[in-house]
Subunit: 437 residues, 4 copies
């Protein structure tokens, strides 16, 4: 018996399962409204709904599926682990699976990059990792204020929400969001205004009016905020400023990490050594909930139990995470990724050039790219058309005016090209319609 | 190949795996310090370390393993699901696994109890569910203040932390914890003082100085706070007061839920109908991260996407969760649980009676009980001796002065009796030592 | 030329001056709505309006005129000072007037009571003094949380407002009021419940959920809150608890101070030695804005300029304040005060006894007393009738259900008796009307 | 008997009065440390100490003495009022003195400028007025966030302190300062960066991360912050932006108002019509504590009593205030002021030109000007030398690196020239010493 033979699922005429969501699920659900089908199975970059129809996945669960759906290697070790009655969940107790992950992470990821960190396992979501990192930073510095950037996104629980820039998100808290100062991200003023200089000036000014921060929380590429890519120079200036002022640099790699921008950590391109790094989404390899914070040893000052949470020991995730790390020393994997990045870049540049008169803007880095079409309604229509043609993708940016392309790193190049061809057709058609008015 | 045949795990002389935690894991880890071994596999109430030594589990991952480790039914459906390439993770998109969970939860749990709720899937931890519930309550009422109780525990992210009472936990935030008012829990003043009357008076008083709250966040039995059991009368009075004043009642069932106190929801014994209910820990059945919030329809006012999070769609958990729900209509399961509850109650009462001169206090409800030995050092020594004899349990209460017994609901009665016999011996020996001085 | 000969004032037919308030003054004005006349001059307990009608003052500018209107001694020194071109205002520079005040305050007030304090001159209002005291306490302890009591009133600027209990007042802030914990005042639970015991328990409990406070802010008699008089025992228990826990005791003497309750400081009756004392209202003697904070030497840790404000050097107030202090060593003044207190007490007790069937409750202490008539509308009608008969007084309490009697300490006994006779008649008439229904 | 004949004051050998401050006054006192003498009397721009030595006053009580010390006209009406037993203090009851002030303020100040405001009398300090204005703005908009600028100063009570930029001031609060966003003031980035454009962009951006503010709190010339003068263009752009976004503009005229910058309101030069205006310091005319908030009618939405305070009815101040307003229609007064402004401007420009090689910067506007000497120690030495030569002035700016010249508006031109000549000599000598090294 496999789950898929369940009668209610295989009968394509039975729509009762769709009713169940209307009847029972909270109004807050959102992705399902854009993709109103019921998915049943998935492999790499392909999803199937319960009628058997297939979809190309250019969303990758918002970055949690960098290695695709049901990667056979990871699935195999996971099933083996389950069959051996491996420990499933373990709080923060020692387990073989955790030891193996720690050792492998150090060997495959940290050591080759000359990085040295202590690793904190937090509640298995990005926002829990951010909250944990804030605690570490506030304790280590004895300060409470934190700098976050325009268009930043760092999560939806209250501590992270204070860092998140989107106004609708912020309002959802229903209470004060304090101890955060908003600063302009790279290029926020446009040409010629260096926002690190501003940050430096206002914080160094004894009457700048900004309480000295414990930390700066940074995405090197802003995902939700619109695929804004900070320049290397700006990142280094920011890092140097932080070091000079003894302000901790927390890099939020929740979406950018695990290779999404081309290297395992997105900060590698600027040779940063952040004080704290938050990882989640794809760190678990198989889409399983997991999150960690990397902490420089001298900042690892928390007492036992000072931060806690039940699901910090998701061993199923550890097993998959550990094996996914091996990919990063596999030349074939890395080459395939680089090839995909090139395909994506070339195609988006081509689309933008073709429609130069509409000022389309290619944004992002690595396999986290997109096209700013400037008009939220247009973006929404493109998203709908893509779905109609079997491609799942999301929009981002302050007004959701950007088409975001985020396939699994492991997507077959045929699939990638096919999906991008569809994108070109859809954009072309939509722009033509718009011109016709 | 199974994971367990991995050489580094099966060689009992190789201690390098223990070093890896010292070297690489953050200082904040805590349970592993009390149980300094490395666990590899587990079944129902038994854990094994990497030397093959077995342990009896009276901790159940702090309540996340009510159905024991690697329950064969759940393991089987999980492996089937994996083998069929079922969707692993899906944000808040529709999946067959989610539909099945929703439908089953409604049929097996809500409907038989006359309850009607919308279900919100949140980030898969208890604290995420609490944060989500606070957002719902604050939005629905337009108020921001929230009542929480002395000795309450509701999580460690900033929104939940404001509700949590423990001083060390609170300090960990490193920033202000606002918009929460602390009120005395049931019996906090001792005999004769009705704390609901106080709450009513101070909130009804136009100059009571308490801003009218959006919600009261309640554990009907306080887990971390010391196994304090609110009386039915008090619970009903509180609920009636909240209703009268149009203040929402949020019941935190993260630890008490899924049968831990004897019924699926702990609030059933007082016939409450909370406005919001938070479930996590054992809701996923198999120890997999999952959390939901139950919301009365008229309070389900959030916009699509108003709260979000990547891992809200942990389908592996949905699959296990759904099948675990069936247990609650299985007479054998329910009888077994009731029998276990009786065994635990009788034994703890016996221990307390035997050592009446030490004033040992039996606390808690269902399979969430313990013995208050009043002295944190004594409690710690008992915990250590239990571990030395192969039983894993934790302490709780404001000073960690309470021995907490929380085995899987599914523990074999032999195992339960055996563990409790060891507890009796350990307590007896420790008290004798203490008397000798 | 005297101001009073100004034509627009002496012409009783010219009502244009009343229009000016409607047209130009903000809607927030309130006392003038209850006493819709225009006052022009005043002496001791008598006010005159611009038509020449006189009024008996049982309000004393909410306690700022303990020595009556235009006390001839104070007026004389003030005019002399002005005529000599004495320094009017001086920031916190040294002036003769300030030196004289400091020396006299120490000699006449502190030394005879065995008290030793440093004196901080703050912005000249009660709320500025409270804000200043909070800063001192928070700095000296390194803690931020503060305890305030049910029905407490401490001012309307944001720091003080957080301490103030009245819900309408609190709402006026329009932003979060944090770092304050509300505790039940003396007798708030009624008989048999000792609220200091509760405070002690919840603060000593490591999981009580109350962050350890910097200070407790206390009125020994609650003015606005309803003339609630804490017992000596309770005050001493509170003080001892605070001392034991190293929590600072701030006594707010803004309304109770300068003899209002019978002794110069209201805390004298319980032999307290508060860590900080806030004085304003009558400290300036002549109704001139002035406020000071008394600080135990070891808590006087602020840097120069750490708190500031332009009008901290109101030398006209210092001159009057200094000479008013002499009254406290004048036996005639003290005897007169005691006699007035006795008259007030006897009359209110008599009124309550006479109408025992209505449960009238005599409240308060010294010359700060009142009658709780339980019904806000009744209280309002009594206030109106009193005004119609030429007596000015206010209501207080959470619902403004209490008639508050607060004449100048220096009121002639004839005037006091006359006003109280009117009160008796008014209450009697109103109760009779009520009975008739 | 006049106060000045008091023996302790007239005996120049008696230094005991100086000891009294050491012994009894709090460590927080600050101006007196820079001017360690005891002042006794004063007339216009001259102060005398108790030894009879005279000082030229270039400080004007931080702007509270725009009409000089003991202005004979104001003194005369004040003494007359006192002698007639005029009401001294009156909460917010109607008095003749208040009516007269209201009517005159409308006639002499508002109407000629085409302004229409309701007037709120607040606690008589600048910070109380700011707190009151914030309440009005937050209530009228239903928003809580407020924009304040780099280097802004708005007071030291908690609500105002959140707006104040100086780091030392901010720390003094000892608790969170929330609901304020700091924005760069005019020219804060230097040439070519328009900070209103930035403000507009970040607030209009749905993911700018700044919660929409209730109000912008503005000094058109920053006093404490360094005599920074916003350009007319910038002020108008800011005002237009605020209007467009329905954000209230609160102009803090506490220091700049009552003619300090040349016109009665400093905002007149940019033809602004602020939604709210805060006045204090010199509004009372004679150095007497008083503060008002001007409110556009449609924003005057507070309930009676929603903001309160005992000393809102300082009738002695009203009397002086009312007569000081007449000066503004007295051509001689206005001409004299303009002449003084020219003298000050010319002299400071001359000093800066003379020492061009030191980059001295003339800052400020009207009779609120200064010289930025860039070096705090140099500024302090200049201040000390000035005092040694009998001139009292203060420093300002984030590092106290600016010599601030703020004489009474009514200073005799001889005195002004004499003081400025001393300033030139002192600066020249100090710069020469510095060059010598």
């Amino acid at each position: 018996m496999t789950y898929m033979t369940n009668k209610t699922i295989t009968d394509p005429c039975d729509l009762s399962f769709l009713n169940v969501f209307e009847e029972l699920e909270s109004s807050v659900r959102t992705y399902c409204r854009k993709f109103p089908v019921k998915f049943t199975k998935a492999r790499n970059a392909t999803l199937w709904d319960d009628t058997g129809k297939s979809y190309l996945d250019f969303l990758s669960c918002a970055g949690a599926l960098n290695y695709g759906h049901n990667h056979p290697v990871l699935k195999s070790v996971l099933i083996d682990y389950l069959q051996s009655d491996g420990v499933t969940t373990s709080l923060d107790m020692h387990t073989s699976a955790k030891a193996d992950f720690l050792e492998t992470f150090n060997r495959q990821i940290l050591r080759p990059r000359g990085l040295k960190y202590k690793i904190q396992f937090t509640g298995p979501t990005g926002t829990n990792a951010i909250e944990a990192a804030l605690k570490v930073a506030r304790k280590a510095t004895g300060r409470s204020n934190v700098v976050a950037f325009t268009n930043g996104f760092h999560g939806m629980t209250l501590g992270s929400l204070a860092l998140t820039a989107n106004g609708e998100d912020r309002k959802s808290g229903g209470t004060g969001l304090s101890d955060t100062v908003r600063m302009p991200y790279y290029d926020y003023f446009g040409e010629g205004v260096d926002t690190v200089t501003y940050l430096d000036k206002i914080i160094s000014d004894p009457a700048g009016g900004i309480d000295k921060p414990a930390a700066i929380v940074l995405e090197t590429v802003q995902g939700e905020g619109g695929l804004n890519v900070a320049s290397r120079r700006w990142l280094r200036d920011l890092s140097n400023f932080a070091k000079r002022e003894n302000i901790l640099l927390i890099v939020d790699e929740v979406q950018t990490g695990c290779g999404r921008t081309g290297s395992f950590f997105s900060f590698e391109r600027a040779s940063l050594e952040p004080d704290l790094v938050c990882l989640s989404k794809s760190i678990g390899g198989f889409g399983l909930p997991m999150a960690i914070v990397l902490i420089k040893s001298d900042l690892d000052t928390q007492n036992p139990g000072e931060h806690s949470g039940t699901f910090r020991g998701n061993n199923l995730a550890f097993i998959c995470a550990r094996h996914a790390l091996d990919f990063w020393n596999d030349a074939a994997f890395v080459n395939h990724l680089e090839n995909n990045i090139q395909i994506l870049k070339d195609k988006l540049d081509h689309i933008a050039r073709t429609h130069a008169q509409h000022g389309l803007l290619v944004k992002g880095l690595g396999l986290m790219k997109g096209v700013d079409v400037h008009d939220p309604l247009l973006a929404r229509r493109i998203q709908n058309d893509m779905f109609a043609q079997g491609v799942i993708l999301e929009t981002c940016g302050p007004k959701n005016q950007i088409i975001k392309i985020m396939p699994p790193l492991t997507i077959e190049d045929d699939d990638l090209v096919r999906g991008l061809d569809i994108l070109e057709q859809v954009i072309t058609a939509q722009l033509r319609d718009m011109e016709k008015g």
